[in-house]
Symmetry: C2
Subunit: 166 residues, 2 copies
DNA sequence: GCGGCCGCGCAAGATCATTGCGCGGGCCGA
DNA sequence: TCGGCCCGCGCAATGATCTTGCGCGGCCGC
């Protein structure tokens, strides 16, 4: 299923909507070179096939008072699928955890967290995260600044560049 | 500036648009309890003040053929502001790097990367990332699965929950 | 009490979304 | 080669939405 039945217009639609998710359909149609009705139909198909997972406004966490961003590298004691799922379930209910990815290797999970200030985060760290069952160790790093954020370059362009260079 | 002059309606607007960035303005207005024109004016203000940084379609990388996702922890040899900026500039031109965050502590940067397959990533790792000037070491971890992704809970709700619990 | 200011809601014209429909090109079998 | 089928485009029309100007009412300071 992966990338099989997409033509150039589809890829361009994805790239444009990745760059500006609130673009009107007529503007989108103009940019990809077809008229509005088939363009809208293509977007609907891309949504239904799962290429487009949703549309979201990017909110500036710092403007909202979340001055602190932290990456937390978590190691568990036991890593059976049951243990992993239990930790994932726990992560869902922690509002300060914005993202969680399960990794291979030494680190089992990496968590992207936010907090209004350092003391709030440290309270979460000591009383929630490290105190959670099955957590062996947590290493944290404060984010100084974001150097690059998605959507950096549309995936369409990534494909091209990878083909060219490597 | 942080979070000062936002009322409840503003926060609700942010939460709704974070959840669905393509919601029509009339639907948004209905949900936050005001009529469409002032709602649109508020959205414009939130955009101009930087609370809303943009709208983006979330594209499924795996569906597009990017089967591999990797976190790379990078340590540099020298960490002067000039050295840091030089590495950040280099990161911008690598299409496989989707995100880059500068951290404090041992690790200087964490990179979120994608690749069509493992060999493509390893080629990038050896011939680009570790070969870049000033890079001391790179530790990589494959992403097994995403357990939680933004926008998890709208920031509005995070604020409430932090105030309640901790 | 009173004037000024701010933000809301109403109304109208422009723009956009969405559907049905006809047309043309590509493909396959006769 | 030639029909017939199928798919996707573009046109057209209707309804919804966007966008602006404007008047009203509440709130604050004088």
């Amino acid at each position: 299923m992966a990338g099989a039945k997409l033509d150039d217009i589809d890829r361009k639609i994805l790239a444009e909507l990745q760059a500006d998710g609130r673009m009107t359909n007529v503007e989108l149609a103009r940019r990809v070179g077809i008229s509005a009705p088939p363009c809208l139909r293509r977007v609907r198909v891309l949504e239904e096939l799962g290429y487009i997972r949703g549309y979201h406004a990017r909110i500036d966490a710092r403007e909202l008072g979340f001055e602190v961003q932290v990456f937390a590298m978590v190691r568990l004691i036991a890593q059976s699928e049951r243990d992993l799922a239990a930790f994932e379930a726990q992560v869902q209910v922690w509002p300060l955890v914005r993202e969680c990815h399960m990794l291979n290797g030494e680190i089992d999970f990496i968590l992207k967290c936010v907090a209004p200030d350092l003391s709030t985060f440290q309270r979460f760290l000591t009383s929630s995260l490290t105190a959670a069952p099955n957590v062996a160790s947590v290493k944290t790093s404060l984010v100084i600044r974001a150097s690059k954020t998605e959507p950096a370059v549309p995936f369409e362009v990534v494909e091209e560049r990878v083909r060219e260079a490597g």
